[in-house]
């Protein structure tokens, strides 16, 4: 029964990974840009949520009304300034620039908040849980995170499939020059994609900050887990990213059950196995751009 419990907890943890990975997946899908500052941005959002709760006393979920728009705006500005310029330079520029940005953000947070572990206090919700069977209990907040993760993936998928701008994003991703010939300004599309991606990172960061303790260096593992979810699921597939997150979550929790203190390592090993045997991911996108 403890194994069943581990699987359930792993699936639920996977929802958080999918939430963290959604923005990374979107940015890569639209502009083939891998944002190495993705994890650091999530931690920036976690600190932002923490400061808002501690300084103003507003409820943790209300901070999302501030954190998400602020992060989205930051994403827009980031794309219009640094990243659009980097995409016009040599091929290595976007990787180097986003890695530089990650280093800057991490060290700024170290200066502002020290290396001590922090978390966002949600009061009684933190300990609340639902008993499913006598041996399996699910935390209310982790479950909420899972639901939000699934909703974000579904919403993003719907946005890309059904809306005019979503369609323009897919067109730009397929063929940027042809999209320009349709009157689409790719710089705006890119800025919009990054605004959505970083806004979602903001959302994910606050949930992360409630769920676990974090410190400025936490951005590294956040980026790595999000990346593993994307690759396990298959590049360019949002539903794949959700499955990738779930598989990673299950591998980590079940792995930790089998070999205490090696959960993360077993998650990495599952990722490497997928890379070795199914390099296109388990749920690859059918169409290649």
């Amino acid at each position: 029964m403890q194994w069943a419990n581990a699987v359930v907890q792993g699936v639920i943890l996977g929802g958080l990974y999918a939430l963290l990975a959604a923005g990374l997946s979107l940015m890569f899908g639209v502009m083939r840009l891998v944002n190495l500052a993705h994890g650091a941005l999530a931690i920036v959002a976690a600190y932002m949520g923490m400061v808002l709760v501690n300084e103003t006393g507003i409820p943790p979920f209300a901070t999302l009304l501030i954190v998400v728009p602020v992060m989205a705006l930051a994403g827009w500005i980031l794309q219009r300034t640094l990243l659009n310029t980097a995409l016009n330079r040599q091929a290595l520029a976007p990787i180097l620039v986003t890695f530089g940005l990650a280093v800057i953000l991490q060290n700024l947070m170290l200066e502002l908040f020290t290396a001590d572990n922090q978390s966002i206090d949600v009061g009684s919700l933190a300990g609340a849980s639902i008993q499913i069977t006598p041996n399996i209990a699910v935390g209310v907040f982790p479950l909420l995170t899972f639901v939000v993760g699934v909703a974000v993936i579904a919403g993003l998928q719907l946005y890309l499939a059904k809306t005019t701008t979503g369609r323009a994003m897919r067109a730009t991703s397929d063929d940027r020059e042809a999209a320009q010939l349709m009157g689409i300004d790719h710089r705006n599309i890119y800025a919009l994609a990054t605004a959505i991606a970083v806004g979602l990172v903001g959302l994910a960061g606050v949930f992360l900050g409630v769920r676990t303790q974090f410190n400025p260096t936490f951005g590294d593992v956040t980026l790595i887990f999000a990346f593993e979810a994307v690759i396990i699921g298959g590049l360019g597939s949002l539903w794949g990213t959700l499955w990738g997150g779930i598989i990673l979550g299950v591998a980590q929790v079940v792995g930790a059950q089998a070999f205490p203190s090696s959960g993360v390592l077993l998650g990495h090993i599952v990722f490497l196995l997928v890379l070795a045997f199914r390099p296109t991911g388990l749920f690859p996108k059918v169409v290649n751009g």
Binding site: T164, R167, A168, R170, A171, S173, D174, D175, E177, A178, A179, Q180, L181, M182, G183, I184, D185, H186, K285, V287, N288, G289
Partner: protein, 232 residues
């Protein structure tokens, strides 16, 4: 006043010059065919008009306004629409979605999904097919329809016949009169001289990035065109 005027442009790809002091002008409602062999500079000319290439010297005027520095996505709202060489259909979008993307600039006019399906019946049946799975003819029809979705004043068609079976080429060119009927100015670039002569009011022949011959199809003999085409 001409709708489009290209005056004495030089265009380069890096260090390589593709167009040398080329001029061209089209009146509204006219159909002009630009012909020439591979590498004559035909596609470069269309790319310069659409904004994908920037002339080093010379001027491109649309409705009398200089547009040299207008980026490609701002030329679509002005009424310039290019069907690029190789069709460039968005592979992960359905053919209908491809057409809808073409309406991004929201220019009002006769063309919409319904009128285009009427003009290109083969598209109506294939509307939910993914771009990547469509045949060459379907892709070409969709590429032209997609360009028309912006209701352009001038439609630039690049190598419509390339890589298609003659019967498919006929089928696609049969839509041209319906397009011209709406008052649309058309600039066709073709390697297929017969096709170009058949559809156009005027022909301009390029060789090595320069105009070597121009006139009405009826006034030009095959021999003159052949010698201009190959530079002999």
């Amino acid at each position: 006043m001409a709708l489009l005027e290209v005056e004495n442009i030089d265009v380069f790809y890096g260090d390589v010059q593709a167009i040398f002091g080329l001029s061209l002008s089209i009146e509204e409602g006219q159909t002009l065919a630009v012909i020439g062999a591979n590498g004559a500079g035909k596609s470069t000319l269309l790319k310069s008009i659409a904004g994908l290439c920037t002339p080093a010297t010379g001027e491109i005027r649309f409705n009398g306004e200089r547009i040299n520095d207008v980026p490609p996505h701002r030329r679509v709202p002005l009424g310039i629409s290019l069907t690029p060489e190789g069709r460039r259909i968005f592979p992960s979008l359905t053919l209908e979605e491809n057409l809808l993307v073409g309406a991004h600039s929201k220019r009002p006019g006769y063309w919409n999904l319904a009128t285009l399906y009427e003009t290109f019946p083969l598209l109506a049946d294939r509307r939910s097919r993914l771009g990547t799975n469509a045949s060459g003819g379907e892709q070409q029809a969709a590429a032209i329809a997609r360009a028309l979705m912006s209701n352009p004043k001038i439609l630039l068609l690049d190598e419509v016949s390339l890589g298609l079976a003659p019967v498919v080429v006929e089928q696609i060119y049969s839509a041209l009169p319906a397009i011209v009927e709406q008052g649309t100015t058309v600039l066709v670039v073709e390697q297929d001289v017969n096709q170009a002569m058949k559809v156009s009011d005027r022909v301009q022949c390029l060789l090595d990035g320069r105009t070597v011959l121009e006139g009405k199809p009826s006034e030009l003999s095959r021999e003159r065109i052949a010698s201009a085409f190959f530079g002999i």
